[in-house]
Amino acid sequence: MSRVVHIASNTFREAVRDRVLYNLVAFAVLLSGAAILVGQISIDIERLVVVNLGLTAVSLFGVVIAIFIGIGLVSKEIEKRTLYTVLSRPVRRWEFIVGKFFGLTGTLVVNTVCMAIGVFAALLYVSHKFQASDRWILVALYFIVLQFLILCSLTLLFSSFSSPLLSAVFAFSLFVIGSFAEDLRGFAGMSHGLTQGLATGAAYLVPNFSALNVIGQVAHEQAISGRLIAYNTGYALAYSAMAICGAVLIFERRNLK
């Protein structure tokens, strides 16, 4: 297990040294600019705008990082042959994949925590105080992290058998389709015959990112039920675990030419 930790920490170190966390600077500029602007032009909806904009930015920045780092996690190591000196040690292939997954997830969690501090700071700037309903912002951030968990596992799955470009296309497509998973399920419910079967299959196969997106509700100060939190947690963990198992199964059989 310690080897998983070493691979994860090395992956995290790579992301940090590749200046991935520099995106925080862009985020800070965007958010502070928006907060100042909103404070000047909007009346009574400053909070709504800052929460909406802040959480959407957290999500989008994270998605871009998850896809663009995730797609190269395995393929880059094969291409540069750095994997040879790792797998010729007492490191099992599944340990390598799981370590990479935790490394990327860890990077995104740190990134999200930094951005969350920025969101709360902007919120404090425009509202001058925190409200009890602001705790739901933490739930929305938690759901965003769950999205990253799924996305990281999917990019790793694609990265274990395909080229970085195709992996990026697959992962981004699944993110977009998954963001409309609830609509897809609604469409399946209204369809008949073969179309219904296909739509239902697709709706349950793609990750349900729309259930993990509660930014609108949180911005309108609506509460998030404990049941949804439990359901989303279980769903994200199960989905990621399955995707990681798939990545391991493929990678175990792969020839590192």
Partner: protein, 292 residues
């Protein structure tokens, strides 16, 4: 127990768009390397040397056959703790310093923190080799360790390999630099087009060939009588070099004495590893069938 043993180890890649076309990278390979031996794995580019090493490292999966290292399957994690591997033209994480890189590899190999510090400091010079030996493996695999090195670097690698041998380690290295193989190896194997063509002790392969001797003396013309001895003579400046059957040695010396010519050297002709290598590589495909 052999340090390295392959039993009908083979690899065929499926190539083409539909992956239906087979491309043989390694034909059934039977090889055994004794513990403490320096073993050279020779062959031209594309012969199957790297494929063999990757199969032994578990980086590619065999199509058939098995391989054992120190008597255990190559898939067992304990075996990996006992081996070191230097890939051909290695590339390392460019975001890590040399020290961080070695620390990372040491952690993955399970080297205790106390042992790590001293070893790493001493090994920073040659990171590639260092990462392969820092965990004190019993068997070391080196894929073209001299390629891309300057003469000093080559010398250092040779010294290191000799040191490993003195420590009783088994060294399996691939190369097409035959002088290195001749200088370092106890035994060598020649592989070509994925097929083992020959294997043997370097000393035996380079032993006297058919009792020939080489004579070198000062002179401008080949003395009369040499042609009758079956000698092949070459004139270079004011020296003449002749290769002739050992049985004619005394007769040739008598001619030189009679002609009052100064003999510079008289040595038995030895086959070089290069001759053996070229003979095996150029010969028609014929499995060596040698087990050890």
């Amino acid at each position: 127990m052999f340090a390295i043993e392959t039993i009908n180890l083979e690899k065929t890649y499926a190539v083409g768009f539909w992956r239906k076309k087979p491309r043989v990278a390694l034909r059934p390979l039977n090889l055994a390397v004794e513990e403490g031996e320096v073993f050279g794995f020779l062959g031209p580019n594309g012969a199957g040397k790297t494929t063999t090493l990757k199969l032994l490292m578990g980086l590619v999966l065999p199509t058939g056959g098995t391989a054992r290292i120190l008597g255990k399957s190559i898939n067992e994690a304990e075996v990996k703790a006992q081996i070191g591997f230097l890939p051909e033209q290695p590339y390392f994480y460019d975001y890590l310093t040399a020290k961080e890189l070695l620390e990372y590899y040491a952690r993955l190999s399970g080297v205790e923190p106390k042992e790590r510090t001293g070893k790493i400091d001493a090994m920073l010079q040659r990171v590639g080799l260092a990462q392969a030996i820092l965990h004190d493996p019993k068997v070391v695999f080196l894929d073209e360790p001299m390629s891309g090195l300057d003469p000093t670097g080559r010398r250092e690698v040779r010294d290191l390999m000799e040191e490993l041998k003195q420590q009783g380690k088994t060294v399996f290295f691939s190369t097409h630099i035959l002088s290195d193989a001749e200088a370092l190896c106890d035994r060598v194997a020649v592989i070509h087009r994925g097929e083992l063509r020959g294997i043997g002790r370097v000393a035996e392969l380079t032993a006297s060939v058919a009792g020939k001797v080489e004579m070198i003396w000062n002179g401008n013309a080949v003395p009369a009588g040499f042609s009758g001895l079956g000698a092949e003579c070459h004139i270079s400046g004011d020296t003449i070099r002749a290769a002739l059957p050992e049985a004619q040695q005394e007769a040739a010396l008598e001619i030189l004495r009679r002609e009052r010519l100064r003999l510079i050297s008289l040595t038995p002709v030895r086959s070089s590893l290069e001759e053996y290598y070229l003979q095996k590589v150029n010969s028609a495909a014929k499995p060596a069938g040698v087990a050890q």
